[in-house]
Structure formats: structure tokens, C-alpha cells
Symmetry: C2
Subunit: 239 residues, 2 copies
């Protein structure tokens, strides 16, 4: 029996019909579908997205990926990733084709990218399949371009240092901030300092029933949902 | 008869199975499919991507969008976009559902985004549907993340000024450069100056039969194909 193949598949930002034809086919044909979960028993958003596409024979494997800060917990996390990579490898050795699902695009701030490095080191054959990133979907929903003409776009995350975020706010006209919940008050302050309090749109839980959009700076001063993405455009007033 | 609806649909970077389920359904159901072309009679890449998904009843409308510098030719271009917007509106008035296809994501450096502004001004009901941007697909093909952890990503184009590109090269660890053909020698020089000559991957004609990948700085000093996207990663050596 030949060894199976692993596919790392981005399932897009939230709506079930925003996965690619390739992702759909791979999910339908998979022997095993790895569903990363931040805690055993908690159904991930990625799994909710593909649920309508599962077949009777779809075999789901829940795999725990703790959502803790990487730099502070590198040793613990790497041990866990290694363990997960070995489990995946055991399925491949048994001849299974395995799909690893991941929210949004597989290569933008994903846990998958960390696991991928371990898999590649073990010589595992992996094919990554792109998904729609949340920020593209945000721009589509509000009918405003991310970047055009002679502008540029920065994609950052509130897990970055504030110094770097300030530098990014200085040089780019268009800025996407992911994981805004890690510091929404800080970003509110930066926007106010720059007179940009009307120049952003924040979308939380994009594509889900609880999706919410705001352009009100005061909303950033309260607790916002974990899955929140912001687009700042210096040349566009959103309210 | 009620007025039709317009869908601006990103068809992804090149492979026909990298369009979304939603794009597939809209293309199959469309009364008219607007195929932007840089010159009458030249079949666009976007059309080549969706060709396998067309049905016998698919009605294609070729629409010319000159590929000339925007700032220098704004008046001529705006007149053309206005004309195109009016033609689209006439189909909608006739009750047709219209799909406007666009390469990659609809909101990243697309002509569609310019036309969109004219359509919205005319009160036309438009829904934008996201597609996979070329840079996500590039990262997937080489199994390297675009950005992770505490890093950020810049997405820029060689149509930007060199001063801005230099500032971006200074502050970001990960940089995507689109439309590299507009100045590949200049970017080669900047990479060499920074000791980054082994830290990039360039993919041309991604997803097509003529797809080509290089990590050799000397290849940047020759003419490269129009559709070329580069990923620079300061922390990764590609050769």
C-alpha cells in the first residue's frame, strides 16, 4: 500500500460556499479530515464551514492546538505540534489521504503553517490549498477595494508590537489588522491620534450568524469578539 | 420585470478549480458574463480560468478595459469606464443577472474596483464575491507562510514609487510585490543592497501551463512575464 498524501486546505473566512472547488473535492474524497480545535470538544469555525459538505463516510479527527502565545510557550507548543505531526503521519503510513482544514487562507496567520514545518521536516508529502482570507471577504462585503493603483496594503495583527503597528500606520494608505481583539483600545487610540477615527471598518465573526460590522470608534473601547478583522483606509471615510 | 443584479466575481489566480463554489454557481446561472479584455479579441486569463465551467447557454460579453497608466490617462480611462458601466446597466435594466469576472481577488489591484465606483454612483446593486489572490497561491505552492506569529505582511506593486517600496522593504519581514515586470531590475538592485538576494521567490503565469518559478536574482535582470508575483521573506533563504 502506498503512503497517503496530506492536504492543508484553507476553507475561507466563514460562508460554506466560499471554499474552492478544489477544497470541496478534497473534503468529499478525504479518508480523514483533521479538525484543529483549541480545546477538546470545542467545534472549530473551520469545521462549521465545511459541515454542509461532509458525506456519510467523512471521518473527522479532532486535534488539539492550544491557543496560547507562541513566543512565551514555544517549548510546550512545539511538543504538541510534534505529537500532532506524528499522529497525522500514522494515518498517512496507513495509506489514508488526509485533509487538514484551516480557517481563511492556509498561509496567513494560521496554526497550520507551524505544523507544516514539522511535517516537512519529517519528509511528509504536503500540498497546501489556498482559501479566501478574511480581509478579502471584508472588502467584498463593503464594496471597497483593499488596494488599487499606486497604493499598497499592509496586513498585520494586534499580536505585533505597537511600535511596528505605528510604523505601518505611518507608511501605508491601506491597513488590515487581524486579531483586533488582542488590543482594540490601543488601536482606537492610534486612530484618534491620527484623525482616522472615521476611516475604518471592523467586521466580527464574518460570514457567521453573529456577523457584526461597525465603523464607530467607541465600539473599539469595549470587548470585541475574538474573530475580528479591521480595514483602515486613509483615503476613505466610512461614516 | 425586475432589474437584474451585478456580481463582481474574483476567479482566483489561474487554476480552474481554485474558484469558489459561489463563483461557480453564479457563472453557471448568469444571463451575461462580462469578460474584461485589455484589447478587443484578446482572450483574458480570467476567461480562460472559467472556460471549463461555462454552459451551452453562457453568454459572454467582451468589454474593453485599456491597460494604461491610471494617473497619466485618468480622463480617457474614466470615459471608458463610464461607457462600460452604462453598458452593464443596460443589461441589468433588461432584467439580466450579470457576472463580471476578474482575475485573483476582486479587491486587490483590480480594474473591477474602479468600475465598481462608477456602478455604485449610478445606484446599481452590486455584490462582490472574493477570489483567491495570487500571493496566497504563491505561498501555497512553495509551502511557506506569508506571515505568522508576530510578523506582518506588505502587499505592494511595482507601480508604486521606489521611495515607498524602500520604506516597505525596511519595516516588513514579509513583502509581496505584484506587477514585478514593471521594474524587476530595480527590485533586484534593492534586494542586493540589502543582502536579500537569496530571500525571494518569483512566480510567473501562476496556475497556467507556462508557470515558472525562480529564486535566482539574475532572472530579475531580464524581461519577465507580465503576470509575475514575488514573495520576499527576510527570515527565509530560498536557495
Amino acid at each position: 500500500m502506498s503512503k497517503g498524501k496530506l492536504y492543508g486546505v484553507g476553507v475561507g473566512p466563514g460562508e460554506s460556499d466560499l471554499i474552492t472547488l478544489k477544497a470541496y473535492r478534497l473534503i468529499q474524497d478525504a479518508d480523514k479530515i483533521i479538525c484543529p480545535s483549541r480545546k477538546k470538544g470545542v467545534k472549530s469555525i473551520a469545521l462549521q464551514i465545511i459541515e454542509p459538505h461532509l458525506t456519510e463516510k467523512s471521518e473527522l479527527v479532532e486535534m488539539e492546538f492550544p491557543m496560547i502565545a507562541i513566543e512565551a510557550n514555544r517549548e510546550e507548543l512545539e511538543a504538541k505540534w510534534q505529537e500532532n505531526a506524528q499522529e497525522i503521519n500514522s494515518y498517512l503510513e496507513a495509506g489514508d489521504n488526509v485533509v487538514f482544514i484551516t480557517l481563511g487562507d492556509a498561509m496567513v496567520f494560521s496554526t497550520y503553517a507551524y505544523v507544516l514545518d514539522f511535517l516537512l521536516e519529517e519528509g511528509i508529502d504536503v500540498e497546501t490549498v489556498s482559501g479566501i482570507p478574511s480581509f478579502c471577504n471584508l472588502a467584498a462585503k463593503i464594496n471597497v477595494s483593499l488596494t488599487q493603483g499606486e497604493e499598497s496594503l499592509a496586513v498585520t495583527s494586534m499580536t505585533q508590537s505597537i511600535e511596528e503597528i505605528r510604523a505601518i500606520l505611518d507608511i501605508h494608505d491601506n491597513i488590515v489588522i487581524m486579531k483586533v481583539s488582542a488590543g482594540s483600545e490601543i488601536i482606537a487610540e492610534e486612530l484618534e491620534k491620527r484623525g482616522l477615527e472615521n476611516n475604518f471598518t471592523l467586521i466580527s465573526n464574518i460570514g457567521m450568524e453573529t456577523e457584526n460590522k461597525t465603523t464607530d470608534i467607541n465600539d473599539l473601547k469595549q470587548k470585541i469578539p475574538y474573530l475580528s478583522t479591521m480595514l483602515i483606509k486613509k483615503n476613505v471615510k466610512f461614516n
